[in-house]
């Protein structure tokens, strides 16, 4: 047991101390604190800035334990499991871990295992596990679904969860939490370690990663209970702060539960230096490309050693890359990196980056995480940052040295984004982060997990229920829901009991549930995972005879929908002409020099964070604060003040005016495109009933505009925006909406209702679902509207696709605080949103209207 004042010498074995000394390093306080945690057998969440030796801090205790263990006489077993959200990160950490192991000559084998790992290596890893296995949540789920999982994990000492903030608030996080509960059952000594650089609320992460005690467990099994004696480390005198979590009631009201994760904080890194590019030119009213600022961005790159240029969408990346190369008279090595590029091409860019050969990489969130490149000295964020935490993560990519500040420049693409960038800059300076709220575990993920458990070994229903409730997201799972999930896994969970003879899992004479046959288990294992990726098409160079040649990348289905054959577009940094689309291939030919058409941006998939939105509203209404803004943006705000209204930060401004033959209503909730789109859908239903005859709407992150035939300035806005719109109106709209169908498809795949892959068939694309889930949705909704999967789909749609919770908070926030400005003309604020009319698709309006339009085309065609 480590003494609270133990010096480094007591914690670090000589071999390790020498290794530090040889490199001229001394162990950091939080690295020693992590060793103490391990000695005390306690779980830990380490929050340390990028460049602070965080990964080493996570692995040091395991390396020491492994170095000190007596020579094995039996077969080796897995000691430490490392989980990364990215395959590439797992591989990168494997490489980084290799150095200390080699240099100290440690008898330790550390190996990565991802979906890309070769079959023979994966098979060997199952039979002969390494000491340290570095892998992803999906591979862990797979390992847990194999027969013999219990034996495989029984001697596991430590699980390390890296970049934990990106994992927890998602279905992947649900699945990982369940698998943690599973391996904790197998490995009684298991210690949990979380690593992160950016955490807004450590309690949320702690609750997610902890082992919660289910009420029916015996008190003797409680870990870290009151009076745990010497097991509790005291705050150290090394500067790291160990915040002890006393056993306390979990967030659930039942009481009697508790968990214990100690928070270790590394020293704060140097505060980042963030600037907002104020642009010599005018800041545009509208748009997302920041084209106006490209010359300035290029100039910054010229003066920088290596810059990462972050953008929010793949098309933005393509666009920025094109624009920078148009200006690139110096022929600077500027590269492109995003998720649609062929893997081989991405690897090339990463390798060139690692060798320090590049001056800039234009990239999307694919480079948000992990891989350590050291030499980046500037991060440029093109267009809206959307949230403070994401920006801190991205800024952390610059400069992996702790004591030097990271540098970043924000480049707003329009005027509202100028406000947003300023607000983000200030939030980062104050170290205020926005984060994901805790989530309740999804039942489709649970269904997959239950099936996985049955595939590995027979289970007892009650024991499994208790085990599942030790996982944070499922600690409040009711027995009824659990039973429903098991029934679903077995027979589909239908009121019409015709599938009893086809059960996938069956209860044996011994009272245990087991998988029906090995084929069923094999099929389950092929479909493990909680990521449902959209169907993708390969982009290939067209060959003679309409065949596809070399693959240059992949695009999501629907991304090229706006393009016609013969039209040109940019992809992978070049201009191509679309020649056609076959089943799974987009065929293209090089079209150098052609002026490419820009497909719809589709906006950013990230919504403006609630916290940042609030800061934007505050900045906007605080006139003294406007001095940080460039002249033209200030003038714009002043014009808004003079011609319309600047709302208070707790008000929502709503403007009505006529323009041409149309009547407009524009409001500014600042709640993100998703919540605005939902609001607009519901508002138009209500406006229809109110006789306004709405014709259309458009939304962005800040505002929404509805236009109609009849004036709307006399409407009762309190009633129009009443929270009761989230009742019947929402349900009626949602039931018919394509969002529900999309959500249902995801749930059907994750829960195992639909299988993506079959034995003997390599997966070619997400399209290869044998079945249209829309058809199933329609039938199920009519015949069993309370089915488990419909519940799941509704929850998913309400959170992920339409952001009902945020809309609800907003409606509550603005109750009695709608500031109506009836205007004789459009306002300065309304210009950006009105400029977006016609540029953006509103998918929810499609369907019948498209058919009607096409039918009219046919009539015109016949009349020619």
């Amino acid at each position: 047991m480590a003494d609270s004042a133990a010096p480094a010498a007591d914690l670090l074995p000589p071999r390790f101390a020498d290794w530090f000394a040889q490199r001229g390093w001394s162990p950091r306080a939080h690295q020693l604190a992590m060793i103490k945690q391990a000695r005390a057998g306690r779980d830990a969440l380490l929050i340390a800035p990028t460049g602070g030796g965080k990964t080493l801090a996570g692995f040091l205790p395991s390396l020491i334990q492994l170095a000190e263990r007596p020579p094995a006489n039996g077969p080796k077993s897995l000691h430490t499991l490392y989980i990364s959200p990215l395959k590439a990160l797992a591989v990168d950490v494997e490489r980084n871990l290799g150095a200390p192991i080699l240099q100290m000559g440690l008898p330790v084998i550390a190996e990565s295992r991802t979906g890309d790992t070769g079959i023979s290596r994966r098979q060997r890893q199952r039979v002969k596990p390494p000491d340290i296995l570095l892998t992803t949540p999906e591979q862990l789920a797979l390992l847990c679904a194999w027969e013999g999982a219990r034996l495989y994990f029984e001697n596991l000492e430590c699980v390390i969860l890296d970049e934990i903030h990106t994992l927890h608030a998602s279905k992947r996080g649900d699945l990982l939490a369940l698998d943690l509960a599973r391996i904790a059952t197998f490995a009684p000594r298991l210690r949990r370690v979380g690593l992160s650089a950016t955490v807004d609320d450590p309690e949320v992460i702690k609750a997610w990663m902890a082992c919660h005690e289910a009420p029916s467990q015996l008190p003797s099994l409680l870990r870290g209970g009151v009076g745990g004696g010497g097991a509790s480390p005291e705050p150290t005198n090394h500067g790291a702060i160990a915040e002890l979590t006393p056993p306390r009631p979990a967030l659930s009201p039942q009481g009697g539960e508790g968990y214990s994760i100690d928070l270790i904080r590394g020293p704060p890194g140097a505060a980042p230096i963030v600037e907002v590019l104020l642009s010599q030119g005018r800041v545009p009213w509208s748009g997302h490309t920041a084209q106006h600022a490209m010359a300035e961005v290029y100039d910054v790159i010229r003066k920088t050693r290596t810059a990462l240029v972050f953008v929010n969408t793949r098309f933005q990346a393509e666009f920025a890359f094109q624009e920078l190369w148009k200006l690139n008279d110096d022929n600077l090595p500027i590269a492109l990196h995003h998720g649609s590029l062929a893997a081989e091409q991405r690897r090339k860019v990463e390798a060139a980056m690692a060798r320090g050969e590049l001056r800039a990489v234009v990239c999307t969130s694919t480079l948000d995480l992990g891989i350590d490149w050291g030499d980046v000295d500037l991060v440029i964020q093109l267009a809206s940052p959307k949230g403070a935490s994401r920006m801190v993560q991205r800024i952390g990519r610059a400069n992996h040295r702790l004591d030097e500040p990271s540098r970043a420049i924000f480049v707003p693409a329009n005027r509202f984004e100028m406000l947003e960038c300023q607000a983000a800059r200030e939030a980062i300076a104050e170290n205020k982060l926005d984060g994901d709220p805790p989530r309740v575990g999804a039942l489709d993920v649970l269904a997959q997990h239950v099936m996985g458990c049955a595939c590995s070994e027979p289970f007892d229903l009650l024991s499994l229920y208790d085990e599942i409730r030790t996982a944070g997201p499922y600690r409040d799972l009711t027995w009824e829901d659990f039973e429903q999930v098991v029934d679903f896994v077995s027979t589909g969970g239908y009121a019409l009991k015709t599938y009893d003879r086809f059960r996938r899992i069956v209860k044996g004479q011994d009272g245990l549930w087991r998988v029906r046959n090995p084929q069923t288990a094999q099929r389950h294992r092929m479909n493990v995972g909680a990521i449902v990726s959209p169907a993708v098409l390969s982009v290939r160079i067209a060959m003679r005879g309409g065949r596809g040649g070399r693959k240059i990348g992949e695009v999501e289905e629907g991304m090229l929908e706006m393009l016609e054959p013969g039209e040109t577009f940019v992809f992978a940094g070049q201009v191509w002409r679309l020649t056609g689309v076959t089943n799974l291939d987009v065929l293209v030919q090089p079209a150098p020099g052609a002026d490419p058409k820009m497909p719809s941006w589709g906006g950013s998939k990230f919504a403006l964070s609630t916290y940042l939105a609030q800061r934007v509203r505050q900045l906007m209404c605080d006139q003294d604060h406007w001095t940080v803004l460039p002249g033209d943006v200030r003038e714009w705000l002043e014009a808004q003040r003079d011609r319309s209204v600047i709302p208070r930060d707790d008000e929502m401004l709503l403007e009505t005016f006529a323009r041409g033959k149309r009547q407009f209503m524009v409001c500014y909730p600042f709640e993100g495109r998703l919540a605005h789109t939902t609001l607009a859908m519901l508002l138009t239903r209500r406006l229809e009933r109110a006789g306004a005859a709405p014709l259309g709407f458009v939304c962005n992150d800040y505002a929404l505009a509805v236009w109609a035939l009849n004036p709307m300035d006399r409407l009762d806005f309190a009633t129009l925006f009443d929270e009761d719109m989230l009742g019947d109106d929402l349900e009626a709209w949602l039931a018919e909406s394509f969002m529900m169908k999309r959500a249902f498809k995801g749930c059907a795949i994750i829960s195992g209702l639909i299988e993506r892959r079959f034995p003997g068939e390599p997966q070619k694309s997400g399209r290869q679902i044998t079945f249209s889930t829309d058809l199933i949705y329609d039938v199920l909704r009519r015949h069993q509207p309370d089915h488990l999967l419909l519940r799941c789909a509704r929850d998913d749609a309400a959170t992920g696709l339409i952001d009902v919770a945020r809309l609800g908070q907003m409606l509550a926030r603005i109750r009695g605080r709608i500031r109506h400005a009836p205007l004789a003309h459009l306002s300065p604020f309304s210009v950006p949103i009105l400029l977006e009319i016609g540029k953006e698709r509103s998918p929810g309006q499609a369907g019948e209207m498209i058919l009607r339009e096409a039918a009219e085309d046919l009539i015109a065609e016949a009349m020619q």
Partner: protein, 243 residues
């Protein structure tokens, strides 16, 4: 279908009040119903293709527990059409059952619905590739194909010119594109000489009419009748996209 010149061609079609599309096939008047059924008013004959009854349980037997309501849903929609139109003849144009054991898996209630279909009218089971023998215990006539006032009704369309042929089998579906995006629907497809019906079954998927399987069946650019929520939309070849 790439060899078909997409040129405008005047078809005789009109929208009926109920949203159905009225057209001609050979010399017969045909009403393309929103349900995906074909109504031959002069003969008081209702034609539906590719019901694929018990497709759900067929998947369940292999471990994919699709909702077991597909047969009920399909027969409910068929019964609704019979109720409205009061046909003297109902023609099931093949692949009525998803597999050869489907009939044995029918719930009692669903078998009763099928028997009710034959009561007081002629029920014809044209056989298809999934149900080559026709039903064993259920009432109705079994036929390989059927000639009806100059029309030939068979499951699988034959190659070459087939004036007056009405078939199914291919499950035609159309991706209709417009400036705002595209939408994919089951559809009728016809060049006024022959016609292929959409699959009527609740779980029957669709094959894009631009697929090679449709190539060569039509002498000129056909039109499709895309099945919408309350209307069958006539859509020209130019407005269609591949998947």
């Amino acid at each position: 279908m790439n060899d078909v010149t997409p040129r405008p061609f005047a078809y005789a079609y009109a929208q009926a009040a109920c949203g159905s599309l009225l057209t001609e096939i050979g010399a017969a008047q045909a009403m393309l119903r929103c349900s995906g059924a074909l109504w031959l008013a002069a003969e008081r004959t209702l034609v539906v293709a590719d019901l694929h009854l018990e497709k759900g349980s067929s998947y369940a037997a292999r471990g994919q527990m699709l909702p077991p309501y597909d047969t009920r849903e399909t027969l409910r929609r068929l019964a609704a059409e019979v109720e409205i139109l009061a046909p003297t003849m109902v023609i099931l144009l093949g692949d009525t059952f998803h597999d050869r054991a489907s009939e044995d898996r029918l719930a009692v209630q669903d078998a009763d619905s099928l028997r009710a279909l034959a009561r007081g009218r002629t029920l014809v089971w044209v056989v298809g590739n999934h149900d080559a023998d026709g039903p064993r215990a259920l009432p109705g006539d079994i036929a390989d194909e059927l000639t009806l006032h100059g029309l030939v009704l068979r499951h699988e369309p034959r190659a070459g010119p087939q004036p007056g042929e009405i078939s199914g089998h291919l499950h035609p579906a159309a991706r209709v594109k417009a400036t705002r995006g595209s939408v994919r629907r089951r559809c009728f497809i016809t060049d006024a000489e022959r016609m292929i019906l959409p699959a009527f079954g609740a779980y029957a998927g669709g094959l894009n009419v631009r697929d090679a399987a449709f190539a060569g069946l039509f002498a000129r650019a056909p039109i499709v009748g895309a099945v919408g929520a309350s209307r069958v939309h006539a859509v020209g070849w130019r407005s269609l996209a591949g998947d």
